[in-house]
């Protein structure tokens, strides 16, 4: 059965080469991602956990594959989302887009399956570089700038992880590893690249970015934190702040994709919180929310992609009244908004309530309530402004291949809403509290009401309309970039003198070394 695993990984990588060469590139891309998804489904029946080693001929590193329930779910989510992305991006013609997409899929599957830290780091770094080239695919000025910021922060995060691997023994190693994963997961202090990368990337890529790639950081925390013996309790405040701040930032944004990006930051804060608590219920909630968030966030991004493709307009204030012109997209976006805000029949409700019951301290419960209320507010605002209201912009017809993924994803959201057990049965955790009967339903309605109240209060006090530029953190990172540049400019100017000084430096260095040595 390890042949299937190798097959699932090798086909996308070969496919990425093939799409560069074969004439009809879209079909090969579809075929490869589809086959990879199919093979992974075949793996569901296999007894888990699966473990074996692949040895490369002349290479000291060997790839140790380890698959348990959680990594299998994540792999399934990844390949499914990539398949939908390939289906969705029919309007993109360039060959390199498809080959990069497939290569990224192969690398992510390898990340999910890898067991040792070094191999994990190797594939993590490679997927960062490949995603960089996907993010800057649009080649606009803004995309390139956002891509550069994405790259520097993610490579910095990866280097932190490498340092952690090197300093594995010491406590510093654990700290560095967690910091590296936080950068990759885009939690509060380092979420800056997330907010810029999403609007710049093509919509299919940004759907993947927030649906799957950002979760790699959280997954690596779950998988490799025990290796470092790190106690993650100090992560709770970080998770809480990123939950709350993420939602409030989402509330005030004007760019459609930026709203979704910041809501990803807050949702990941929730997942991080669940991960840190390590209790049985919270981990099962985390796994379920992992999959649900992947589905409805990708759904929302693809809807917004259709909106942008149709109207060519990104600012939320210029959109409006599209429900009549784009009924399918409107319905899908409605399902997505409802499920992300945790309304009963949809999948968001199940995982959020499990997580809510798993929380202990009142502070966490309060923060959770505020966050879900904020989410409800921001998504009612999103839906109301884009689809309801006066019908403004003219609409271009959306090709059928862009509408198909919307239907698939919304169907899945509803399905998982009713039968969450499908996902959890794989991981061996069970859904303890029977969600429907207990007190969950009234609580959710309460938070929904609170959220809508938030929205109208915000609307009245004009907070939501004009967007205060709240990017202190962003300025901090650009600031330290500029200061490094300024310092090296100074160094450069100071060091260019004429030959006499260079000879003098040589002799001074000689004398300095001699004295250093003899004492």
């Amino acid at each position: 059965m390890d042949v299937f695993v190798i097959l699932a990984v090798v086909i996308p990588v070969l496919g990425s080469g093939a799409t560069l060469v074969l004439p009809h590139k879209r079909w090969t891309a579809l075929f490869c991602s589809g086959v990879s998804f199919g093979v992974l489904c075949r793996l569901i029946i296999e007894p888990l956990p699966l473990e074996f080693i692949i040895r490369l001929p002349m290479n000291p590193l060997h790839i140790g594959v380890f698959i348990d329930g959680f990594s299998l779910i994540f792999a399934l989510l990844l390949s499914f989302l990539f398949f939908l992305a390939v289906v969705y991006s029919s309007y993109i013609e360039a060959r390199r887009y498809y080959s990069l997409l497939l290569l990224d899929l192969g690398l992510l599957l390898l990340i999910v399956f890898s067991q040792e830290l070094l191999i994990f780091y190797v594939f993590l770094e490679m997927s960062t570089i490949v995603t960089y080239f996907l993010v800057i695919y649009n080649e606009t000025e803004e995309a390139v700038k956002a891509g550069f910021k994405y790259l520097i922060m993610n490579v910095g995060g990866a280097i932190l992880i490498l340092l952690a691997i090197l300093l594995k023994g010491s406590s510093l190693g654990a700290l560095l590893f967690v910091a590296g994963c936080l950068v990759k997961a885009g939690s509060f202090p380092v979420h800056v690249w997330l907010a810029d990368a999403h609007p710049a990337a093509p919509s299919a890529v940004s759907a993947l970015l927030s649906g799957a790639l950002v979760k790699v950081g959280v997954y690596s925390l779950f998988r490799f934190a025990p290796h470092f013996g790190a106690d993650l309790s100090w992560l709770i405040p970080v998770a809480l702040t990123s939950m709350v701040i993420g939602v409030f930032l989402a509330l005030v944004q004007s760019d459609v994709k930026r709203i979704l990006a910041y809501s990803t930051v807050s949702q990941l804060g929730i997942v991080l919180l669940g991960m840190v608590l390590q209790s049985d219920a919270s981990v099962s909630g985390v796994m379920l929310h992992f999959v649900n968030h992947g589905l409805f966030k990708a759904l929302l991004f693809l809807c917004m992609g259709c909106v942008i493709y149709a109207t060519g307009e990104r600012n939320i204030h210029h959109l409006g009244g599209l429900h009549s012109k784009m009924p399918v997209t409107a319905a899908a976006c409605l399902i997505g908004c409802l499920s992300i805000s945790g309304i009963p029949p949809f999948n968001g409700f199940v995982s959020k309530s499990i997580l809510f019951h798993a929380l202990e301290s009142p502070v966490m419960k309060a923060a959770f309530v505020i966050t879900s209320a904020g989410t409800v507010a921001s998504f009612t605002r999103l839906f109301r402004h884009t689809f309801l209201g006066k019908s403004g912009a003219k609409v271009k017809r959306i090709p059928r291949s862009m509408r198909l993924p919307l239907l698939l994803l919304s169907g899945l959201c509803i399905l998982l809403g009713f039968f969450p057990g499908i996902v959890l049965s794989l991981t061996g955790y069970t859904v303890e509290c029977d969600v429907w009967s207990s007190s969950a339903v009234p609580e959710v309605l309460l938070t929904a009401g609170l959220g809508i109240a938030f929205y109208f209060v915000g609307l009245k006090t004009k907070v939501i309309l004009e967007t205060p530029s709240f990017s202190i953190v962003d300025r901090f990172f650009c600031g330290c970039g500029k200061s490094i540049e300024y310092f090296s400019e100074l160094l450069d100017r100071w060091l260019t003198q004429d030959v006499n000084y260079y000879a003098a430096y040589m002799i001074l260095f000689l004398v300095f070394l001699f004295f250093l040595l003899s004492f």
């Binding site: 490369l56 001929p57 002349m58 290479n59 000291p60 780091y121 190797v122 594939f123 770094e125 490679m126 570089i129 960089y132 800057i136 080649e139 606009t140 000025e141 390139v144 891509g147 550069f148 790259l151 520097i152 490579v155 910095g156 280097i159 490498l162 340092l163 090197l166 300093l167 490094i484 540049e485 310092f487 090296s488 400019e489 160094l491 450069d492 060091l495 260019t496 003198q497 030959v499 260079y502 000879a503 430096y505 040589m506 001074l508 260095f509 000689l510 070394l513 001699f514 250093l516 040595l517 003899s518």
Partner: protein
Amino acid sequence: MSGILILLVAVPLMTAFLLSVTALPQKVPHTTLMKLRNVLSVSGMGVLCVILAVCAPAALSGHVLTYTVGGWSPFLGVALRLDAFSFSLVVVSVLVCFLALFYSIPHMGYMRRMGKYDAFYFLMVAGIVGVFLTRDIFNMYVFFEILSISVFVLITAGEKKESYKASLKYLILASLSSALFLFAVGIIYASCGSLNMDYAAEGMKSMVEENPELMYVVFTLLLVSLGVKTSIVPLHFWLPDAHSIAPTPISAILSGIILKVSIYAMVRLFLLCGWQFYSEVSPIIAYTGAATVAVGTLLALVQKDIKRMLAYSSISQIGIIVTGIGIGTDLALQGALFHVVNHALMKSGLFLCAGIIAGQSRTREISKLQMGAPGVAVSFVVLSLGIIGVPPLNGFVSKFIICYGAVQAQYSGLAFIILAASVLSCGYYFRVIQAFFKKKKRRKKTPMYRVSRFMSFPVYILAVLCVILGLFPLIGLQIADLALKMVGG
């Protein structure tokens, strides 16, 4: 069989003199002269490769080929020696010089006709191979001088205004450094009675016991003189001008190979004075190396000209190698030796790519570069990923080993500096790569001059080599390990 060694040096010398003979008579119609010179230079290199192939099995299987020139006893005479360490470096340098020669056939057409550019090119190759082979310290000095003088001339082959200034600055600093080197050789000879490395080693060991002061003098002299040639931080001032203004194939060889020649000399001579003395002194080398990494990367951040940026980045990469040498443990040395080979391949490829791209977009400003031939752009991306240290490529393997050795030897601060520097290097390399992707309206339909096969195919070979060495690093690591035993590690 060991007679072949001298051929390694004699063949480039003879091709150099043959080439300078053919450069003379103007009566022969010009095109046949050019063809003749091309054939001659390519065959000269070909013969060199054949010789290397012949003595490859012997060198790689671990035993040592020595050869005494002129039949004198090694105590007095000049001995040549080829072991795994020098063999791997000779192979890399001959390969890069061969590829740069291919690059220079179309690129430097006008320069080769009128001057003895080729003759000096082969003199340089003879100098490089000579330094790698000699066992005699003074002979190393002579080959260093042959190498430097031919490089001074080759830098000015571009006939540009700044090339004379850059070459003069390099000449002054290099001759100061060879004066110091000569001074150190003098002291070694005075105290040990012989110039051959093996006999000098015993002399040095006894000298370390009696008067360590003199030993410190010799060490500092050697470190400073070779420091200038490898451009360690306080002595690196000549490198940016020399490397960025020289014509592309020459700057590729300059930063790819000639920096490695002095690194090789540094390793040989420092390990000469005995392992005990070396471990006492090596922290200084490690910290200078770390300072070089830091300063090199910072300065590279602000460069506007792509070649100057590459020059500064080779300063920081040399800093990494020197740190590896300074750490001194077997693992770090092995990583450093492997990084020497990697950096030689990557940096020369990058310079050749930069030459093509700068030529096509008619500017050397980073922000105004345009992606000319897609193949060249892809190999530029692959090579710069290698330099940054992204996993699948060979740069990552050697950097990781050096950092791992650093952490093991309680130098974790150095590992931090090296990795922080690789993040910054990712910054300035991707500033160039993103310039390719920026949609720029071509000012006027400038005719993109056709990149002839000769210019782009060396770049592809180097990129493919880097990927192969990256995916299967054990090839390089075993040779580095073997080389370490040869050096007495």
